[in-house]
Symmetry: C2
């Protein structure tokens, strides 16, 4: 009996910085868990960085982040034999597909997407300077997803609307040109975002983010991890923070719910010092990070390994994307237009070679 | 002494119908005049038809119009040895370039473009249904122009703002990434648009247009040309139209200014019947159309000739576009990102083959 093909999964990251603990608990653990039962495509979305950081010195940072992002994922246990890692800008068919899909999406639909406004704000881009590239971000993302014909798309909650747009693209396309694209579904991470580290009483007051400089990176050495966790306090000057304390969010993620409840009781009752609480949480984080750090160093030491994985994956993604683009062009009639021109040209060349 | 390269020129049409007398006097005559002193690229802009006519049955009409549009241009005297005719959708690098240029254009800039709103209205597309593809039309057009590094862009007045956007794309790109693109300049047709034919007193009341069904096509047989010109009256019921008469616009275009002034005097004085005036204008139009019609029939009779010209031109356009895209990617840093990954991969493969 033939085995049913595994469902296709696509997810990934913009290479705007190294991956961190928030990624680990929010998405990387999930990717590792899904890699056996899915055919996984993991995009390194460098074109998407151009939507908010197009300047040359900004893009100049991308190559090293591309390497870091893949290295981080290999270090946490994603297996290149099961996962196709690929560089977005290295798959030409995706640009074609994005341009074609833009013909199907109303501009007003994209203007409703809240995450684009927050991205513009985060990039200090005034409302009237929002670029077409940023407005069209979800359509380019739809092209990424649909080129792989992915049905499972693990994302954070802030990206859910993008997947709805990919779904709408697929469904409008199928309606206009016949069934081609399976409808992708967002798989929203159930894990609450980790708070960022920082010097304020509630950490940085923001979720941990590659671009805010408030992250504990997977590649951080133990002393830096310890120092970053030590920035958390347990009161805001007047009163204890209790369950709102960023330190306890870390504890929940790395110690578990019951040990965290116990830690809270100890902190509230003065049975443990803040420094000892930091140490307990740091120890739990280190229990996760130490083996990752070790694998990371080993992989980083193999010259060209990360690059080879990414180049091989990009070539594989190109093959998949070319097949999808071909089918897209066939469905729309672009392929028969070109094919008709070529056939008439070939027939003419053949006739020319014929003796009288 | 080396000859200075000819300036590059790019112009063209959307294949939404056969070309007509308005094209002949408004742009084709001009193209023929410019072909000796310019390196000409003439686009058959089939992707642009998708911005307002994406449905399958709409695109189903495109292949025959693609053929007609090239045939018409060959028939008026454009020489495929001097002109590269190419199919827009057949040049993959243009999609890439369009996506990259979208990163540089503010959305609000495109919202100011009046022609897009008229295109949406003409396509009976309500304001809130305007697609991203239509909003991004000028950016795709910029990619067409910049891929050819064209500096001379003959267009109608309604397209002038699109060329300004192409110019802005080039100039922002050069500023961000270093000088790459020459700035294109619109060359606005000085010839007033011909009025459309029709049954009303002032013709169809609109300019002659491929999509309004009010055109005298270059391929129309003589009887149809005669019957269409015979739709023009010289009064609107109450009073004579004088210089406003569409018939006199035709006379100016095909008889010249002085004979037209004389014709007006004769019409105003009753020295000529309307039927005789129709005949005089028809004769002048026929003096232009007859040789075009003859060449058109001869060219159409050569099976595969038009297709061969378009396929060869598209292959040539691909080469030019690939060079431009390569340089664009180099300027932005995309090429060195990919090149770095490939180099590291190759070095790894080489090291692997080495004996100990």
């Amino acid at each position: 009996m033939a085995q049913a093909p595994k469902p296709r999964l696509l997810t990934g990251d913009r290479p705007t910085g190294p991956l961190h603990l928030g990624h680990l608990v929010g998405s990387l653990d999930n990717r590792v868990a899904l890699q056996d039962d899915h055919e996984c495509f993991i995009i390194v979305a460098d074109l998407h960085t151009l939507t908010t950081r197009p300047r040359k010195h900004e893009f100049g940072e991308v190559p090293s982040f591309v390497r870091e992002v893949v290295l981080d994922q290999l270090a946490v246990g994603l297996d290149p034999a099961k996962v196709t890692f690929y560089l977005q800008s290295g798959v030409p068919a995706v640009y074609d597909l994005a341009i074609l899909l833009q013909m199907l999406v109303p501009k007003t639909r994209l203007e409703q997407v809240k995450s684009l406004r927050s991205m513009a704000r985060a990039a200090a881009m005034p409302d009237d300077a929002m670029t077409m590239g940023l407005l069209a971000y979800p359509v380019l993302q739809a092209a990424d997803i649909l080129m792989a014909r992915a049905t499972v798309v693990p994302v954070g909650l802030d990206n859910e609307e993008h997947i709805m747009i990919a779904r709408e693209c697929a469904s409008v396309f199928n309606e206009l040109y016949g069934d081609l694209f399976p409808l992708p579904e967002a798989k929203i991470s159930q894990f609450p975002a980790l708070p960022g580290v920082g010097t304020g009483p509630v950490g940085s007051g923001a979720k941990m983010s590659k671009s805010l400089g408030n992250a504990v990176n997977l590649g951080d050495p133990p002393t830096r991890v310890r120092d970053k966790i030590a920035t958390f306090t347990y009161d805001d000057g007047d009163r204890r923070l209790g369950d709102q304390a960023p330190l306890l969010a870390f504890a929940r993620a790395f110690l578990g719910d019951e040990p965290t409840a116990a830690l809270r009781v100890e902190l509230d009752g003065g049975a443990i010092t803040l420094a000892a609480a930091h140490a307990r949480v740091t120890e739990a984080v280190e229990a996760r990070l130490a083996p990752i750090r070790e694998r990371r160093a080993a992989l980083a030491g193999e010259a060209g390994l990360v690059e080879e994985i990414l180049v091989d994956g990009t070539i594989r993604a190109r093959e998949v994307a070319n097949v999808t683009l071909q089918r897209t062009r066939e469905a729309m009639g672009l392929e028969s237009l070109w094919g008709g021109l070529v056939a008439a040209t070939e027939a003419r060349a053949k006739a020319r070679r014929k003796p009288y």
